[in-house]
Subunit: 280 residues, 5 copies
């Protein structure tokens, strides 16, 4: 029994067991929830992209409920990846998620996720909004979602989301805000943390070591080259991350299947050359 | 997408997809719910038996909630078989399920099955009880379970259970009662029928052909030899059954793993020699 | 983390941790719930008896809700024994629990036990009643209590109670009925089994070994001498029991404090002379 | 029976009895709920800190639900300190609880605290917010929590929290606002008051003397030296406080175990030299 | 604070405080609930009788809900006696309560008693019915009433009622059955016992001494002379009874006011001559 299952009730144990690979303890989750703010580049035909990604056999996919319902037939197999369902999202200042975040929007209830057969739900923890009442509303929403997750034995992934005008530009200060977000999420009842890996391995290692729940990293915007993405994943894995939730760097890639395989090699073997070799 | 998934809402499609093998459309389910009436022969140590059965990679296991919770760690893997949870059971006239059934007992709610991450629930439809009020209570219970299953998009397997003093001894009359049970279950909202195959291929073929939902057969008591069990499965498969829920003929067997493999071959290839060869 | 806490949600883990001694994993529970059928010998003044028993520092006391409320001040200390609350009881053919059991009576809800700060609840599983509908009602009651226990993370102790005309006189057949009761309780969701130790060490060892939950033994009627009681406890402990729920053999004893100490020594050291020495 | 137990229903009496030491009537509670606003200095690894603090055998620990669930195995012993669960928290103007409070956020329900086996719950009473609607919402929340506490016989600790722009700078005026908060909490149904001791012994003695429920003091920010902290505790104890809920001055200390012991000596013996001697 | 109020929640304390005289701790309750089996002698005009009885200023009156509603105007004064409401009654073999009891009938819910402003409710515990299922139903009813009383903080008076064919004729055996009834009532949650005083002072003294709740005696049939009634009350008071619920011996008396005064003197001063002097 690994850390992720200690103290877990049976239903949570079963759901977590579908999300994390039992051989390696790792989870490669492809995020395809970006359509909630419009049509991102490379994600024009969501069903076709999902089919392509499934060919790479990720451990999980992150979707919004509408698309998950429409594509349920693609996810209806015992070997299908786990379904991580987004419960909420963030509205930004400009269209298509551009600019600082300005509002938090609930999408679906935990009960809807349960009905759909989701294996995990994901929610946002807003860090850095100067409008502290917005943060209070977000925390109240998160507390309620956590209570429902406990009731249904549904794993809760929380993503501390550094947005808004109070987010510091200084990388170290930003890393501290990230650490604050991780701690708040744990206190509120997160079962999995989805964190940005900001490039400071020592600080990130501390955050992971001090977390009683597993940490997966988020992918962030498409990077100029795959090697950089893979190196970043290796650094995070070396610092203790046991998974990643990555989107644009996969489905904006020329070959999502090869890129997913490369990410898995990066995560597991933490060897950049071996990971890059998967792209050939 | 096979017949069984047409018109299915997304959550049901996902759960059914874990129960029926996507390559073959078939489901080999090992029933281990017999402990609810005591300790049956060969089922003394439930956890060890479950571990042995899992080695044969069945498509599903049928358990009661207490044991499923205690053994959740054995079922917490993406490759684990689907979990079919018994919602109710029958009390018989004598200890250990001996004699005619005399009462129907609810065990757990559909919501508890959902919480536990079950992929299907199973309930009993009592046929043949001279006490018609008992039948009415059973039908009211079944209707309520079906409503909750629809709400949660949880597949409902119904087993018409021929018990009591009004069950005819004549095989043909019994086959008609079986057909009646199948139809009542369909009208009430069953998603899967669990039927006895009584040895009349023509009548059983009609029942299956006239059912808009898939049919799996039940195993019944341990037969004197494996060949007979396998021949019976082949006959049912030839008549249209797409799965089986079999217990005592598996875990009372000397080698449950080989027997499970033989059952799968019987179901898929419908070739007795090929199936028997798996036992060697 | 011992077996008893695997897969346990946090609230259950905390309550079980108050019932079983953390150093030894053993629980000596003094049952004082006998007043529900009248005034048993030696239990005339329940409050005074409870005070005497507390002096022996048992791990738990088994009480009915009325007395537990009246004596809450005696149980309101961090070092107080865990409170095991009886949820139901059995009516026998004659006054004061004499003769075969003839009816099962619910007393208080799980919610009331939660409110009172109980650490465990106990319910009866009736085995051997020729009136099978009474058994069905009892099972339905037990299923409902188990569901509420899961909701509140309250440990459920189930006592298979061999009563009524269908209970065999033959010790081996009785041992099998005991084993059946243990299995049914597990399937229904028991967290702890309270079993009679019938004097067949080999069969009892099997029952314990095959149980995924801990087993405590019941004390039964006052035995003619203490040595016999202690020898019986040692035999059960050697067969795997991790606790006992014992009443009349404690508070009908001349010195309940010494007898409780002797029982603990018997359970832990499994040495009859050492246990008897505590009585001096 | 001490004051704290008069008129208490049985469940509340049992829970209070776990929180206040029965020999001394005093409760030393270590607060470790600060992570709800981020990672405070000295509280980086919450599980390790909790383990260290438990070594000092406090009477209680104050935690948020997420961390309490994750660390339930550390709190699952009959000798574990009582669990005081935070039901809500306050959002401040700046990150990490810096600046005036600007919003009140519910975290978990009383029912969740009950389920988790908490012995007491704590909630905030906001005093001094110029936004009187925010105060009205807080009071409505508190009234609801108090009603649920009465239903479940769960002790309610209320902390009048002097925040916002209407809090006077003048110490005497601040002491009056503190007294107002204490009275409002009592009128709303508090079972325990958590108050700041502002350095005015005469006024504080009046507040305590006029309170029908026990008063514990809060610790506040880390003080420059331990002697000052201990002197403050002694003054409060001399004025009638029967406990303290102290965090940063314990786990930001070099040796939390020694500091906890010193605090207990300060509280009980009200002798500064004796308390300081514990730090050696 | 007397014994009867220890551990009592506030609502119960207030209601009990209206039932028992605060100066003396005693309660003289006049029972006028006999009309539920017809028109008993001397109770032809219930309203007039009630008015007469009120003139004697009893501490309480025992009524059924119908009459209590009709006569509420007579009971709507701060100096009115406490209202004890009968929740149920017993049907006897013959009209007007003649012959052995044969059935137990619920009348009104605890909620109705609350609505009516009752200060206490009374229910029957049937002892001695050979039909043990009837006893089981009665106990289930009593358990439910006790749960509702705890919820509403309503004092519950339980009257063990020795009826039916299993009630022994031997006075000592009858006293033991009375003791059994008292214990069962306590275990079920009675706040006050209403017991018959059978003439054995030593045994009755034990029952009272071993009861954690106050005991009042019932009056029974009209005795041939008042002196005998008063002597009986004095004996019970000397054995520890703190009140009486007496009907026919009051309102079948020539002068209910004088008789009530005599009963109070008997109860308080335990001096037969002084009591008899009140009748002059």
């Amino acid at each position: 029994m690994t850390l992720r299952q200690a103290n877990a009730p049976a239903g949570m144990m079963r759901r977590l067991g579908r999300l994390f690979d039992s051989q390696t303890g790792v989870s490669i989750i492809v995020a395809m929830d970006h359509g909630i703010v419009g049509v991102p580049g490379g994600f024009h035909d969501p069903r076709r992209i999902l089919e392509a990604v499934l060919g790479a056999r990720p451990d999980g996919v992150l979707l919004n409920a509408g698309l998950a319902r429409r594509c349920a037939d693609l996810l209806a197999d015992r070997t299908s990846p786990a379904l991580v369902l987004g419960l909420d999202h963030v509205i930004h200042r400009a269209q298509r998620g551009v600019g600082a975040g300005v509002a938090h929007v609930p999408q679906v209830s935990v009960e809807e996720a349960v009905r759909l057969g989701a294996d995990c739900v994901k929610t946002m923890l807003l860090m850095g909004d100067p409008d502290r009442r917005a943060m209070a509303e977000n925390l109240a929403y998160l507390a309620d979602a956590a209570a429902h997750c406990r009731l249904w034995e549904m794993p809760l992934m929380v993503e501390p989301y550094l947005w808004g005008e109070d987010v510091p530009a200084d990388p170290d200060a930003r890393a501290e805000l990230n650490a604050d977000g991780a701690r708040i999420a744990i206190e509120m009842g997160a079962d999995i943390l989805k964190l940005e890996y900001g490039g400071n391995p020592a600080r990130f290692r501390e955050i992971v070591a001090q977390s009683p729940v597993p940490v997966v990293i988020l992918g962030g915007p498409k990077r100029p080259n795959q090697r950089e993405t893979l190196a970043n994943v290796i650094a995070a894995a070396q610092a203790g991350a046991v998974g990643l939730t990555i989107g644009r760097n996969v489905w904006q890639d020329e070959d999502p299947v090869k890129m997913t395989r490369a990410l898995r090699v990066a995560m597991l073997r933490q060897d950049l050359d071996a990971a890059v070799a998967e792209l050939a």
